[in-house]
Symmetry: C2
Subunit: 224 residues, 2 copies
DNA sequence: AAACGCAGCGAACGTTCGTTCGCAATTCCT
DNA sequence: AGGAATTGCGAACGAACGTTCGCTGCGTTT
């Protein structure tokens, strides 16, 4: 993947804009808000991107390129399958925490973009997913000698992404300890859970029956 | 928790509105869009809620009350710690999949609501989290004889929520198989990962160093 | 039968939205 | 030095926003 540096000043603008958008959402953040937050005038912003859509596109482009590129760089120097999995998680969480606003915007999706822009982003997203997925594949094969089906591989990988992406919603170093510990938690939980086979629960059928029986009685909590 | 039925017709309105909002976001969905989707006129909608804010509040209120209530109901009939954990996951995923739009809106958060409304919602959210967390506590104690620290307990619980909440972004029965299998995947991965202790990786320090060395070289992908 | 309250609507309100335009200042290239 | 491109801004545009108003039916109560 080729690279080109960002226009002078644009990266800082993207940062501040992501930060705002991550709180209020794309439509909830106005160009006037963005102007105020970046220190530019409303019309002055249009020297850096030619529409609000393009701003969202640039944030997504920058984010996915960056996290994918740093991962690729790391993997060049790491060979052990387990260490490669660790590197994936380390890179993702570290980048995530250092760029909360940006990553939050990426998570909100690109439904607002036109087809061309959003398929460019989807391509990058897919590339990154494949990178991570192939590491999961590697580590599973190396440790068990068996191979996961594509369906299972995809599912496990997505569970890993779930754990990693959800941290934005709850993690604070102050109450949950250093990020490196969090990374090790995710690594341990995922790796152990991945390698140990599926565990059947004998009461599973009972649970299902109980759910079906209960699900009709749904009420709205009374709010005085 | 007391309950009261919803105003006639409101539940259907909430459903359709959540569905729209889950795609475009709160600010991205206009009252005119909602009117069109529900079949009411723009002004007619105001007979069911007195502002767009209140609509978002009602969706959140209904969602969190429902999932929390169904869980409470299930847990009354399930005693084995492992089965209780299974019930938590089963309930969450099943409800999630049956109410994708609503749940997606809940995930987007309540930053747009005033302080009173959003703290009501945060209370419900917290209640639900505590329910789940105490089950994780139970199952860990029962199987290991030890007790997790509050910090660790919170972290593990949040990793579970991450796996469960992220499904909205990728799961489709057609390509990933039946929901019951997904539920068992999450259950197995989480339970095994939870019970097996932390696994130290000897190369962890190397990975950290490599990340630090690489992270300065970030470029924007070239987009012809 | 009269009075009332409720569900529903079209039209309009004031505001805010994303974007454009014309023009000044600065920087860059030759 | 001088023209061209870039960076910046205030003012204004039409469109879309959430909400309100006054009115029409309609079912229920008195």
């Amino acid at each position: 993947m080729e690279g080109c540096p960002l226009k002078e000043g644009l990266e800082e603008i993207l940062n501040r804009c992501s930060h705002l958008m991550s709180k209020k959402g794309y439509h909830g953040t106005s160009m006037r808000d963005l102007a105020k937050a970046t220190g530019y005038s409303l019309s002055g912003l249009y020297n850096y991107f030619k529409s609000k859509d393009e701003l969202l596109f640039l944030i997504n482009l920058h984010g996915f390129s960056a996290i994918s590129t740093t991962l690729r760089g790391m993997l060049e120097s790491v060979v052990e399958p387990e260490a490669r999995l660790y590197a994936v998680i380390y890179n993702h969480i570290r980048y995530f925490l250092a760029h909360m606003g940006e990553m939050r915007v990426l998570m909100l999706g690109t439904q607002n973009l036109d087809v061309e822009k959003s398929s460019t982003i989807n391509g990058l997203k897919e590339d990154y997913r494949i990178q991570v997925q192939s590491i999961v594949d590697e580590v599973y094969s190396a440790k068990t000698g068996k191979r996961l089906s594509r369906k299972d591989l995809e599912k496990k990988t997505m569970l890993l992404f779930g754990m990693m992406n959800w941290v934005f919603g709850w993690y604070s170093p102050r109450s949950h300890g250093p990020a490196d510990d969090l990374i090790e938690d995710i690594y341990s939980l995922f790796l152990r859970g991945l390698l140990v086979g599926r565990s059947k629960l004998s009461e599973a059928d009972d649970v299902r029956r109980i759910y079906e029986a209960n699900k009709t009685k749904i009420f709205l909590a009374e709010v005085n």
